[in-house]
Symmetry: C2
Subunit: 237 residues, 2 copies
């Protein structure tokens, strides 16, 4: 490398296991042969950020002040830009970006870009995400803007997916369980049956329990797209 | 929980994969059923910290100023105490503690305590660690102070272990490889052959490539002991 990489700030805790996973994906995606080749990374893992889906759909506490506080803390520590490993939190990205001194990466946009780049022949894209992310159309709008057709889960499938993320056997509650894996796989298969040629894993907990090869179409993990974008931006390329 | 947990500061980057691993172990060791039950964690992953073994053994750049800077940054961000997932860096712990506003956990002491608590009948303890950690006797001294007998690698075995950590197929260079796994397993077996009843994995890269069941005696990973201590201290228990 010709110059030192920029510092990545990760605003995490939504949830903590997904934050570990993004950190891991960034370290693995970094071309490095010794500690000193790696990218400086600053992390605020703030699990007290109010639940994003609850705020969007059920009048829960607004997470914006705590999200803004975390971003401010990362900027003060020396982060050059910010990655937020929570898709639902991206609903607040426009408001946060307007009041933030450093750039915020857009995981939704990076993921849709990756689908178009890696799967140029695909037209119909399934979206696995939380009810909050789906209700505000984060992926549907970005896909349509990119000329792609979203394939969305039904209300019953959304409930099944939320159970795999938030339920008693869900990833946030119990870690990676067989029940969570089976639930996500079933919803993914239903989207494929309705024509999805690729699936976006549009909640950062989902790739913890659903992996490439689990379904007969390619899976594009939003967290992997965010990690690759962070490495690219850190090295200025 | 009756009250909010304290904030853990992780001073990492030595190396980054070992820092991901400590973060993962802390999240898994936390009794939590939703994001908001988790512990606030702040991480400075500073891969530019000069190599600790090179400084101790070969007159390399002193890492103390950058270690102190990272601790200062974590304290300023609101960390209540600090965990450092690098055993060799613990050589500098007395100097760092003397100039630090918040407590630093002692991974060496926590690991030896865990050996005594979990394996009370054991007398002879093998130590897998870097040449720097071994040369300054971090584990040997702590084991002897606890009434235990250290079983140390020979110079040839230390070279084999350093190759598994720093070599072309080592964990820091190439991730988890078969060569690194085989090298660490061979050195561990040699210590067992010389009487070790338990092995301390006293370098945070080692548990990435060597796991319980790989050898016929219990393995005590220093990073797991540090993670459990951090969770205990965060909850004030």
């Amino acid at each position: 490398m010709n110059s030192s990489p920029a510092s990545i700030g990760i605003l995490g805790g939504m949830g903590p296991a997904a934050t570990v996973d993004l950190f891991d994906r960034i370290v693995r995606a970094t071309p490095a042969q010794r500690d000193q080749d790696h990218i400086p990374i600053l992390i605020v893992n703030d699990p007290s950020i109010p639940d994003r889906t609850a705020a969007i759909l059920h009048g829960g506490e607004d997470p914006t002040p705590r999200l803004a506080a975390g971003i401010g803390k990362l900027a003060a520590m020396g982060a050059d830009f910010i990655a937020i490993p929570c898709n639902t939190a991206h609903y607040y990205l426009p408001a946060l970006s307007a009041n933030t001194p450093i750039p915020l990466l857009d995981m939704i946009g990076e993921t849709v870009d990756a689908v178009r780049r890696e799967h140029p022949a695909v037209a119909r894209v399934g979206v696995l995400a939380t009810s909050g992310t789906l209700a505000v159309g984060l992926y549907q709008n970005a896909l349509r803007a990119g000329g792609l057709t979203p394939v969305e889960p039904t209300p019953a499938e959304i409930e099944q997916m939320m159970d795999a993320i938030y339920g008693p056997q869900g990833v946030k509650t119990a870690g990676v369980t067989d029940a969570a894996h089976r639930g996500l796989q079933a919803v993914g298969q239903a989207l494929i049956d309705r024509g999805a040629q690729v699936l976006i894993l549009g909640c950062t907990e989902i790739p913890l329990a659903l992996h490439g090869g689990d379904l007969p179409v390619p899976l594009v993990a939003s967290s992997q797209c965010l990690a690759e974008a962070a490495v690219r931006v850190a090295f200025g390329s």
